[in-house]
């Protein structure tokens, strides 16, 4: 089987997302669905319910009063954000975090991803957007293609990581040399297979190139800049040590104040530490 055939085969054999996630997604497709019905679905899976409440109560969302029930969480954070929390938890727990491949450690990979999720949301907030629903999850999933390679083509991925190490290449360049596709393309295929919403798929595909398609420009630009900043301040480890140059168009689209990173750094660091221990604990 050629590498491409194996990648396609891997995508078709991807584990399905847990039933609780698809059940929520199906339920939300009905415009008349009630808060209680969704709460019932989540509460049916005790482990998920417990973690959702922990996340909803975390400093990350910054609510003063305690959120005690799933219905309360839905009321405060909204259906879609709750679904995104369940999605993030499901995907992080879908694959083992134990093994490592040369320099690639799943725990560090997820720490980087969570870091990008946090920065994406923090920057999104700064741009004055009120609807930040897909921001955190897009950041968390932006590099999912790397995890796919690592799981479904680990021998070749070891070769990729060796190239990165020896020639100081970016992961994308090394992936293109070995596979002919990079983690951005494969990641978006994975997200499509999981039927995630098109803005998330798009953000995964273009997180490295930045806003070049004219679609979902704000989200794409935010994930793009957040990825660069997370690499600069070393939140986790994404597999390579190359910090790529931001696409200048992203700055035009976001129009951020010059001191925004200075202002956000402390909050980002604090949220990062807490969220990593929350999402990566068993």
């Amino acid at each position: 089987m050629t590498i491409i055939e194996r990648i396609n085969n891997g995508i078709s054999r991807l584990p399905t997302l847990p039933t609780v996630f698809s059940a929520i997604s199906d339920a939300l497709a009905d415009p008349r669905v009630t808060n209680d019905e969704i709460a019932k679905i989540i509460s049916g899976d005790q482990a998920s319910a417990f973690k959702v409440l922990k996340v909803a109560n975390s400093a990350f969302y910054g609510f003063r009063s305690r959120i005690d029930t799933i219905s309360q969480a839905i009321m405060i954070l909204g259906f879609n954000e709750i679904r995104n929390i369940v999605l993030a938890l499901s995907i992080i727990n879908l694959f083992s975090k134990e093994k490592k491949l040369l320099n690639f450690r799943p725990v560090d990979f997820w720490a980087h991803s969570i870091g990008v999720g946090i920065i994406t949301r923090a920057i999104g907030k700064e741009t004055g957007l009120t609807n930040l629903e897909s921001y955190f999850i897009s950041g968390i999933l932006h590099d999912i293609g790397k995890l796919f390679f690592y799981i479904y083509a680990s021998n070749e991925y070891a070769e990729v990581l060796r190239l990165v190490e020896e020639q100081n290449l970016s992961l994308s360049k090394a992936e293109l040399q070995v596979f002919g596709v990079d983690h951005c393309m494969v990641g978006s295929a994975v997200a499509e297979k999981w039927r995630l919403s098109p803005n998330i798929v798009h953000a995964i595909k273009y997180h490295q190139l930045g806003p070049i398609t004219g679609k979902y420009e704000k989200l794409v630009s935010t994930v793009h800049i957040a990825d660069v900043f997370a690499k600069m301040i070393e939140l986790g480890h994404s597999g390579d040590d190359v910090i790529y140059e931001p696409n200048l168009k992203a700055w035009d689209i976001l129009n951020l104040p010059d001191d925004v990173f200075y202002k956000l750094s402390k909050i980002i660091m604090a949220d990062y530490e807490k969220t990593v221990s929350l999402l990566l604990s068993e």
Binding site: F229, V242, W251, Y262
Partner: protein
């Protein structure tokens, strides 16, 4: 009398007593400048943590006694952090946003290195 104070405590109207230069030696604010809010923003963007100001309006300048002017100012750690960051970046900042991002990242790395040094001691 001139006093060294933290950038957070600088108020508009204070007068710069000692010219402020960035790490490339370029002048950011010359001696004698009356500081405005905009100046403060620019100084923060450049990662300036302390400013020497003239005593103004005859009033006391807050917190001046508690400030250690050497804190966050260790040139060796600063250089080490900068070298480390530049090695990984294949680009240099091209606009104010990127400069701001670069300086904020540098601040984080300086903190990390200082913390590690403290832990090692």
């Amino acid at each position: 009398m001139a006093k060294i104070i933290e950038i957070e405590n600088v108020q508009s109207g204070m007068v710069v007593a000692k010219s402020i230069v960035n790490r490339f030696g370029q002048m950011i604010l010359p001696e004698g400048t009356k500081i405005t809010d905009k100046h403060k923003r620019v100084l923060k963007t450049w990662g300036v943590k302390y400013v020497t100001v003239e005593g103004f309006l005859g009033g006391d300048i807050v917190n001046s006694a508690e400030v250690d002017p050497l804190e966050g100012f260790d040139e060796r750690i600063k250089n080490q952090a900068e070298e480390y960051l530049k090695k990984k970046m294949c680009w240099t900042p091209r606009n104010a946003s990127e400069t701001g991002m670069y300086n904020a990242a540098l601040g984080q790395i300086i903190e990390k290195i200082s913390k590690k040094k403290n832990d090692d001691n």
